[in-house]
Symmetry: D2
Subunit: 249 residues, 4 copies
């Protein structure tokens, strides 16, 4: 990927809450995906595409759309089961080939994240609007660039440990909750040639995606997850013997 | 788990090659699963159960069998697709709850390994009976106990990099092949409470499971993968607020 | 190591606070090392040796003592600089050869831990006796065996992130503090053939080492860190060509 | 760091072999550091500074030089012991603050690498000019960008496993040697805010640093290791209580 080409980001939103719940519309009248996308545009050199669950039979994620996506951002919550397995297969293949994937908040139970991680991604949760303080733990990580030692969200949904994920490659952020829990709230993984970032904040009834630090994290993550290597994963297997090696002289 | 109780090992074999191919019967007349199981019995304190693909509708892996299994050993090759998804779900759930899983050789393309790792597990391969030299890399790992700095198999199927797996927790062995390839041939992962070991050697037409070092590795792996923690993975999610914390005095 | 032989544990204590500060004597009249050792004896099959900074020129850690130690437990605070470099060299060599090392609390700034990790091990701290809640994050890890989802210490010294350590092999415990910080309070590393566990709780003016959960963690860690492999690290380097490999048939 | 600013690279060479041994002068008449630096200039946007052991009392690495270095490349072999500990302290502090470090070939026994990794970095070696084939294992890693599935060096010094290093963050390359060994020849680590890459190829009597693939790896590594985060490591420790958190509404 050229350093100067814009990163092609597709922001996917289940887009049900935004339409069905007045509380969500009150916070994000323009819908969550558009909020994330517009903010991203102001933070980093990106081209944004939007896609939603009910857009078409591919949930807006045809092969052509995915082939032209460097980084896919995923927000879903109440309709994970309605995402078609064929589309999940397609996303997985693209991640393995190098596409970046950023999964937000309740996307922890998305088919695509569970598929890539191999675990339930279950966690403890509680929705009482408590305060969240996010600590920057891997302070040298590109996703932490420009973030303070810690930052806060005044009202958040609690997502707590034990979070059933494999040991992350790196745990960039750990959250402290007012109610007494902790959470590995920003974690990285790699699968095939693709990079994955899960970021916990983002409940739909709090204006979290308008927060400057949250926006910064997402913008950094997009740049970190953008593919730098153009290389297919091996999909054929049988090989001929290599050239005979000349005997040592 | 008590330290003195025997480890309950279920050895699963696809058991097609062994019946259909004379070349395999010549090497393992008693079938691969029985060879592995009998050797294991002589190396470690275990109780062995056998299970095979065509045994019954559960491939011999009913919930009851799995619930009484500490470590599942998996050998499959030509019929991965015939393993029912429902059984794969059941195995995955048991691994996440703490059951150990040892996947051998061509099991790299088994549904259960791909399910747990999230990748294709593709690799380069070649079957010309070349020599394999296995280097002990993580020399302090329990699976390496009693193994020399390196050991050899005179004839092997080549499995070479790029092996499409996530970065292992630890790479215990790396193989050198006469034909010029290398391979991360003994790698560990953890998913949920369960430990996973993939070990590459074991082609069905070479007497590899009779090799003393190979037997040692499998016996060590069984002991390493046996669950030490009796703890369910979180499967319900919503929690009440914790007890209020008294103000600091 | 035989499974039935007792694990030989040496508990090292700086042993200055215990003598100089009445507040510490009030909590641990028998000295911290003896408290840790006596509790350990009641939890696991161990042989205990004690060693202290001012005991002799080797701080009680002669080559003979270390050669007969499977796991070394380290508690130090105010006199890290007085530990002789030659003794640190000796401990490091034994860890690389396979000896387990458990570093407690203020030992984060010990020479031996910084030597093995390569970082400053700096952290934020505050001593106001606030409440600490310790979450079990890697619930399948042997060190978590028998521990609940979380447990508490009513009064503790706060050790907070950013903790300047390399990414741990596994983060077994994460702490929540009443004052708003989080901490990776139980982390594992491996160096050479040796296993290392750092465990944060343990301030000298609170009766933390009498706590049943803390005692359980230390006993589990001793068993996890005990060497299973009897293998020297490579210390000579130049090798002759290996036996020529016969051409493939 | 601005994306458009040139990366400031300091190439350090022990610079003894180059002057004392005719065989080295024959391969690198302009000295190893200048070869590495000039090639790098043609591959990536860099500003190059050179420094050598005997240049001055700081080995060319004063605080001012290091403060203006984004990435330090290290080549040393016969005089590791002559590098002053005070300079090693200074380099370590800069790495922890975010400076990248690339250690080449026989630098595996440099004081700075052993200091940062905490192990002996010992390995098996043999110098018979055998063939080396380097396999790209982490094919999605930025350091692998543009590299083929494998590439070869016709004559090399053998560096073989067991290589006494901590488990790397990622093993980007694994080498196959004609003589029968394997080696984790390209490995990454992180310490503090700094990134570290060790790359094994580079014996002084073979023209390895002129090889196009080797040059590509080094150029990629420089870009990967360049700091993206401008953040001091925590060096003071005691903190005041945070602002009281308002009770949940």
């Amino acid at each position: 990927m050229s350093d100067t080409r814009k990163i092609r980001v597709t922001v996917w939103n289940e887009f049900r809450h935004d339409q069905q719940h007045e509380a969500v519309r009150a916070v994000y009248p323009e819908a969550i995906h558009r909020v994330i996308g517009e903010h991203l545009r102001s933070e980093a050199p990106v081209e944004i595409t939007y896609a939603t669950l009910d857009q078409d039979a591919d949930h807006g994620l045809s092969q052509a759309v995915l082939d032209n996506t460097d980084v896919l951002i995923w927000w879903g919550h109440m309709a994970h089961a309605e995402v078609r397995d064929e589309v999940v297969d397609r996303i997985q293949a693209r991640v393995l080939a190098g596409m970046g994937l950023i999964v937000l908040h309740s996307g922890h139970k998305s088919k695509i994240l569970m598929r890539l991680l191999g675990t339930t991604c279950n966690l403890r949760w509680r929705e009482v609007g408590e305060r969240e303080r996010i600590w920057t733990v891997e302070s040298g990580h590109p996703i932490a660039q420009g973030l303070p030692d810690y930052f806060e969200l005044p009202h958040t949904e609690m997502y707590g440990e034990r979070f059933d994920i494999p040991t992350p490659l790196q745990t960039v952020f750990i959250t402290w909750y007012q109610g007494g829990e902790v959470f590995r709230s920003g974690v990285t993984f790699e699968r095939g040639n693709g990079r994955i970032f899960y970021f916990a904040p983002g409940h739909e009834t709090f204006p979290i995606y308008h927060d400057a630090n949250i926006r910064k994290v997402i913008a950094n993550a997009v740049q970190w997850a953008a593919p730098r290597v153009d290389r297919p994963i091996p999909n054929c297997c049988k090989v001929e013997p290599l050239e005979p090696i000349p005997p040592a002289e």
